[in-house]
């Protein structure tokens, strides 16, 4: 792994050598461009040049290690998840290649580039997407039903936790922070009191299915992105998370992702899965998701005061109070 190419020129040479194995007609690559680079994960865009023209591709890789945190699934598993989802009819990019050691690029994979809108604020407001928004909640229900039909037995390394485990895990995360937030304590108590049992039928759960992680075009969902929080659990978790107010981008009156209605999401899910949505359970997961996001915001304080200071992080921490008002609203109803 130490031999993984670093820097743009080294990445370009390694990808050019790989080109013929991505598509037999491919001769070279062009237009290499880093889209984002974190401490451990990078995203690159490039064109694969074939006699038929240039095909835009994406490489996700980790030159020096592969997990963002203990909670993420790892890039090799992510590539397999995307391929499995695609074969179950979930809109997802085609994975062309999983990087091997001899490729000299570290761990990661290469997939088709899908164009579209991912910015939440535009998805919930842009006039050009008005037609897509009308059908999006139903369509998200259908897509989630397909995701939950993926054979979870093929992914034995994924985390498997009951709702009670998750409450304890996130409560412990909250209490590691020195600041006490009475609203969080109240919410943990309320969620524990009506905690659902371990699901009878544990499914593969996407884990971060929300506005911002869906690539949208005027015709609807083009791709479901960011599979790194996938795990085995209660399928209602994905339905609840999509409805957390933090992902409605100001459109509070549209509970599903800022674009749709609960009834449409549930109808799409029931049509796709053939089994009824447990509405009380979906609502429990919406509240749990709100609390989980609140704990995530609040617990960034240690990172901000440590190695990862930055104005943007400071402002995300100061969004914790948004989840507190949402929790109060959910508990009053």
């Amino acid at each position: 792994m130490n031999s993984a190419a670093r820097g743009e020129d080294a990445v370009r040479s390694a990808l050019a050598a790989l080109a013929p194995r991505l598509r037999p007609a491919a001769r070279s690559i062009s237009g290499l461009e880093p889209l984002s680079g974190g401490a451990t994960q990078e995203i690159w865009r490039f064109n694969l040049d074939t006699t038929a023209g240039a095909q835009p591709l994406i490489m996700r890789r980790a030159p020096g290690g592969d997990r963002l945190s203990q909670m993420t699934v790892g890039l090799d598993v992510e590539a397999r998840l995307i391929a499995a989802a695609r074969s179950c009819g979930v809109p997802a990019p085609e994975v062309l290649h999983v990087l091997a050691p001899e490729d000299g690029l570290g761990l990661g994979f290469i997939m088709e580039f899908v164009a579209g809108e991912t910015l939440g604020g535009r998805i919930v407001k842009a006039a050009s997407l008005a037609g897509a928004r009308d059908r999006l909640a139903y369509s998200c229900g259908q897509i989630l039903a397909r995701i939950h039909s993926i054979d979870s037995g093929a992914f034995p390394t994924l985390a498997r936790q009951t709702p009670a485990d998750l409450i304890e895990q996130w409560r412990a995360g909250y209490r590691r922070d020195s600041v006490r937030r009475p609203v969080f304590d109240l919410a943990f108590h309320a969620l524990s009191a009506i905690c659902p049992p371990a699901p009878q039928k544990a499914c593969l759960v996407h884990g971060d299915f929300r506005t911002g992680n869906l690539m949208i075009g005027p015709e609807g969902v083009r791709a479901v992105l960011d599979w790194e929080l996938a795990h085995i659990g209660d399928p209602m978790e994905d339905l609840g998370w999509l409805c957390v107010n933090s992902w409605r981008f100001g459109r509070i009156e549209k509970p599903v992702g800022g674009f749709g209605e609960y009834a449409d999401l549930y109808a799409g899910y029931e049509a796709g899965s053939g089994s009824p949505v447990n509405r009380a359970m979906a609502k429990w997961w919406e509240m749990f998701g709100t609390l989980r996001w609140g704990v995530m915001c609040a617990s960034s304080l240690a990172a901000f005061r440590g190695a990862a200071a930055g104005v943007e992080r400071a402002m995300i921490i100061r969004r914790t109070s948004e989840t507190e008002i949402d929790l109060l609203r959910l508990m009053e109803n």
């Binding site: 937030r181 009475p182 108590h189 100001g250 104005v311 402002m315 109070s321 948004e322 008002i325």
Partner: protein, 130 residues
């Protein structure tokens, strides 16, 4: 006595510089960071204006609720423990009003345009009008 302009006025000038100059003359990524920085300055200005009086009122409510005096961190921890154990809850007199008032006061500083905050403010107005 310190001279003027006031801290609030100086911060206002920095936010205007970030929005009016930096954001227009730089690459998209830096422009985005400059906007976040300007928003952060606005937050600090709101806290300088509202923070102290909000915390005084919070402490007063906590002392009334818990029947003893103390500092904000200690009383908050005591209320949090009572809520975590279920000893008190939203139906305990004063608790819901206190948690709402405290959270609304935070959002007034943190994110005064947040949809959930505006929805609760609207609800409070409707109650008063009724």
């Amino acid at each position: 006595m310190q001279d003027q302009p006031t801290p609030d006025e100086v911060l206002g000038a920095i936010a205007a510089f970030l929005r009016g100059t930096v954001m227009l003359k730089t690459d998209p990524h830096t422009a985005y960071q400059a906007r976040v920085a300007a928003n952060a300055i606005d937050l600090v200005r709101r806290q300088l204006e509202l923070g102290a009086s909000g915390e005084d009122a919070e402490l007063e409510r906590l002392e009334a609720l818990l029947g003893r005096s103390g500092n904000l961190a200690a009383l908050n921890a005591e209320l949090a423990d009572a809520l975590a154990s279920g000893a008190v809850g939203l139906r305990t007199p004063g608790v819901s009003a206190h948690l709402h008032a405290t959270t609304l006061e935070k959002l007034r500083v943190d994110q005064p345009n947040y949809s959930g905050y505006l929805a609760v403010l609207e609800g409070c107005r409707d109650l008063k009008d009724a």
